[in-house]
Point group: none
Chain length 147, copies 2
DNA sequence: TCCTTCTTCATACGAAAGTATGAAAAGCGC
DNA sequence: GCGCTTTTCATACTTTCGTATGAAGAAGGA
């Protein structure tokens, strides 16, 4: 909670500063308006991606307004991941499984113990309704929740 | 692929339209610059979030072709299978592995003992230079020798 | 603050996977 | 027939995987 406030505060603050600087430049006609707007657009595009990248555990999943795209436009269907209740960490493990790594290798890669990986995989198998890791990978690919 | 191009095309198109309208309003001084920039910032913030929500870690994956319905011969590289020295029976086993079946299930499906399946898999792992069956599946898909 | 979820870890056990080795039958090309 | 590969199977052993259960700290929402 505190971290969110802090992060947003920082973002807003830096944006305001940038904004004032930009307006100053604009008045002096040292920058065209188009460029100005473009910069801000790009800036907020990046910010948006960053924010979304830090997806929390299903943030208040209200009834979805349809995304109007039955097929995943950009490859991965985040909504399906949420709908299955797959957590961030579990998803990371799933990706490593798909790469063909062993539990031990995944543990080393994610800096946790093999025990933890086993726990994640067990719940993944339940959530994906799979019997084995190979099964889980196939199902996940069919659901397009991994590449 | 087509849908991605379409989506991006639409986004860019609507942005250009919005941009022109905005510039027009700006010239007529019906809107303050701040509001203008703010609208675009918000717009691209949303777009960024949407994109991030739908994107994958993008490890250069080509989309899988339609399963089963068309002849699996198209897209499969028979020459690579031969080059790797993978026999007919081994290839059958490989396909079953990719479906997520256990050794026992594969044995039942192919009417042989589990022992035989293990033998086939062992040589498959060597020929594919894989350490595990999950690894073998990934490699086989990358080599386009299975769907 | 209380409650829940997520993440982490451990231990123990059973099931599945994989390795090593040997061997026998069948098919094929020479 | 002879040599070669493929396919089949077995036994024994090691490693990995998966389940069950309990527990504890961190983060976030109500």
């Amino acid at each position: 909670m505190r971290s969110i406030v802090l992060t947003f505060g920082l973002i807003i603050l830096s944006c305001l500063i940038l904004f004032e600087v930009a307006k100053f430049s604009l008045i002096k006609h040292t920058l065209p308006i188009e460029l100005m707007v473009g910069i801000f657009a790009a800036l907020f595009l990046v910010i948006g991606i960053l924010i979304a990248g830090k997806r929390g555990p299903a943030p208040a999943r209200e009834p979805d307004k349809e995304p109007a795209s039955p097929s995943p436009v950009f490859g991965i269907d985040q909504q399906k991941i949420d709908a299955l209740g797959i957590s961030r960490r579990e998803y990371e493990v799933l990706q490593e499984i798909a790469l063909g790594l062993s539990n031990q290798e995944i543990a080393a890669k994610l800096f946790v113990t093999e025990s933890t990986i086993k726990t994640h995989i067990s719940s993944l198998l339940v959530k994906l309704d799979a019997k084995r890791r190979t099964d889980a990978v196939r199902i996940a690919k069919e659901l397009k929740i991994i590449n």
